[in-house]
């Protein structure tokens, strides 16, 4: 037993709108057609049509339908709600009956996403990209991060969840060590928008893990030098790295900096230190091709030099 036995016809009334989604503030036109012959109980009687926008009465103009169809037209000059229900009513036996409905949404075409940037995570080789979505369109908007290489058509790399403006392209959709094009594509009922295209080799935006300072020893006989040993992160063991060392006495605000250290070397000497002084040391690295981001500074390690 189907509880809702539909009339099998178009129903006795219908509401038509120009478009169910309009630009915020623009005009909305609608018409409600009532076919009294199809409305059991309405046959032959005088049909008085009225309108409500959500719970507010709005005035339509009922005029000459064709044959047994009464039509009321409605114009809302400036539709300023994000979302509303436009109800068509008919008077019947002294009561007002809802006979038709149109749901209207209003908003804007999607704004152009901007400030697209990406980082490659070296533990799972996922490429996480972030962007500014721009002004809210107030409409259901589908957003996808697109990527393509010169030899393959564009694919959706990932789609942000829960309205966020970042997502992660899994490794299997990336082409490592080669230029890819990455951009954000947004679309809703009122239009589409695309961000600028980022042309990057995912490896060039790899977020390196910091090296680990293993040991720091004074180098006799010149006690103003120390020998440092470090290990680069396993995830970048195969890369040609250039590293930087910074050191300072704890109470000294300024860091001294040693640049251009070859990452793979694993050891280096650092001279010109004060005698009998405690120093803090930190190191960071990035890919030799000077593309891509510095790693974070390593955990600090301290060492006190010999007395003179």
């Amino acid at each position: 037993l189907l509880l809702l036995r539909l009339g099998g016809t178009l129903g006795c009334a219908s509401v038509d709108v120009g478009s169910p989604v309009v630009l915020l503030g623009s005009a909305v036109t609608a018409s409600c057609s009532v076919r009294s012959r199809l409305c059991r109980g309405l046959e032959g009687g005088r049909v008085r049509i009225s309108w409500m926008l959500d719970n507010e009465t709005v005035a339509g103009s009922q005029c000459c339908g064709t044959g047994d169809t009464e039509v009321s037209n409605l114009t809302l000059p400036q539709f300023n709600r994000m979302q509303a229900k436009l109800w068509c009513w008919v008077e019947w036996n002294g009561t007002k009956q809802r006979v038709g409905l149109a749901e209207i949404r209003a908003g804007y075409p999607p704004a152009k996403p901007s400030n697209l940037s990406c980082l490659l995570n070296l533990s799972d080789y996922g490429l996480t990209c972030r962007w500014e979505p721009g002004a809210d369109s107030h409409l259901p908007t589908s957003v996808a991060l697109k990527c393509s290489t010169s030899r393959a058509p564009a694919v959706t790399g990932c789609t942000p969840q829960g309205g966020r403006s970042h997502c992660t392209v899994p490794r299997r959709l990336l082409q490592l060590y080669r230029q890819m094009e990455i951009w954000v594509a947004a679309s809703n009922a009122l239009g589409t928008a695309e961000s600028e295209r980022l042309r990057i080799d995912p490896m060039d935006v790899a977020q390196l893990d910091p090296p680990a300072l293993r040991s720091i020893q004074s180098v006799p006989p010149q006690t103003d030098c120390v020998a440092l040993a470090w290990a680069v992160a396993p995830s970048s063991a195969h890369m040609e790295l250039r590293c930087e060392l910074r050191y300072r006495p704890p109470e000294d605000p300024a860091w001294a900096l040693v640049t251009g250290i070859v990452g793979q070397a694993g050891t280096a000497q650092c001279c010109g230190l004060l005698f009998g002084t405690r120093y803090l040391f930190q190191m960071r690295c990035r890919r030799h091709s000077a593309r891509g981001h510095w790693s974070e500074w390593s955990a600090a390690r301290n060492h006190t030099t010999h007395e003179k």
Binding site: R172, Q175, Y177, A237, H238, M239, E240
Partner: protein, 177 residues
């Protein structure tokens, strides 16, 4: 122009440096898998498997154009691609062997496919003819007659792949400035 003459070309050098690093990465991942096979199956030394290896009749990938005296860059690149394609398929046998390390094996397959298409892209940029391999579908898996054969097969695929990558690495380095 033959590849050798292009050694001075900046794009070509960038391609070489990038894919030297890529090859080092793949070699590192293969070594990691070899350690897993050693720890898991106690198969660590190739010299203990010479007899069984004959039984399995492992075929090697031809790389003669990547060696002196018959080094020929364009042919070497094609042979490297052929090898990468063959190992991409054979790694399926390793995938079956090490389900708990599927992520690492699949990464290896992805990297092999990427390296191959990087080389193909570079060859096409240089106007050279290239072969496009079918999508990396899984070819028929060898039917091992025992778990022991399957384990030895997996060990040998990784050992040969490591040697193959070493040769490919030296060829790329030979061309790089």
């Amino acid at each position: 122009a033959p590849l050798a003459e292009l050694s001075g070309d900046q794009d070509f050098q960038l391609f070489l440096h990038k894919n030297l690093e890529f090859t080092r990465k793949i070699k590192g991942d293969v070594a990691a898998l070899q350690r897993v096979v050693c720890d898991t199956f106690q198969l660590c030394k190739e010299e203990e498997l010479l007899l069984v290896q004959q039984d399995l009749r492992i075929t090697q990938v031809a790389l003669e154009h990547c060696h002196r005296p018959s080094f020929q860059a364009e042919a070497c690149f094609s042979q490297i691609r052929n090898g990468l394609h063959a190992y991409h398929s054979s790694l399926a046998a390793v995938l079956e062997l090490l389900p708990s390390h599927a992520g690492l094996v699949e990464t290896l397959q992805l990297d092999a496919a990427n390296l191959s298409s990087n080389i193909q892209q570079q060859m096409e940029d240089l106007g050279l003819d290239t072969v496009t391999f079918p999508a990396e579908g899984r070819g028929p898996l060898p039917a091992f007659s025992s778990r022991f054969q399957h384990q030895v097969g997996g060990f040998l695929i990784l050992a040969n792949f490591q040697r193959f990558l070493e040769t490919a690495y030296r060829a790329l380095r030979h061309l790089a400035r």
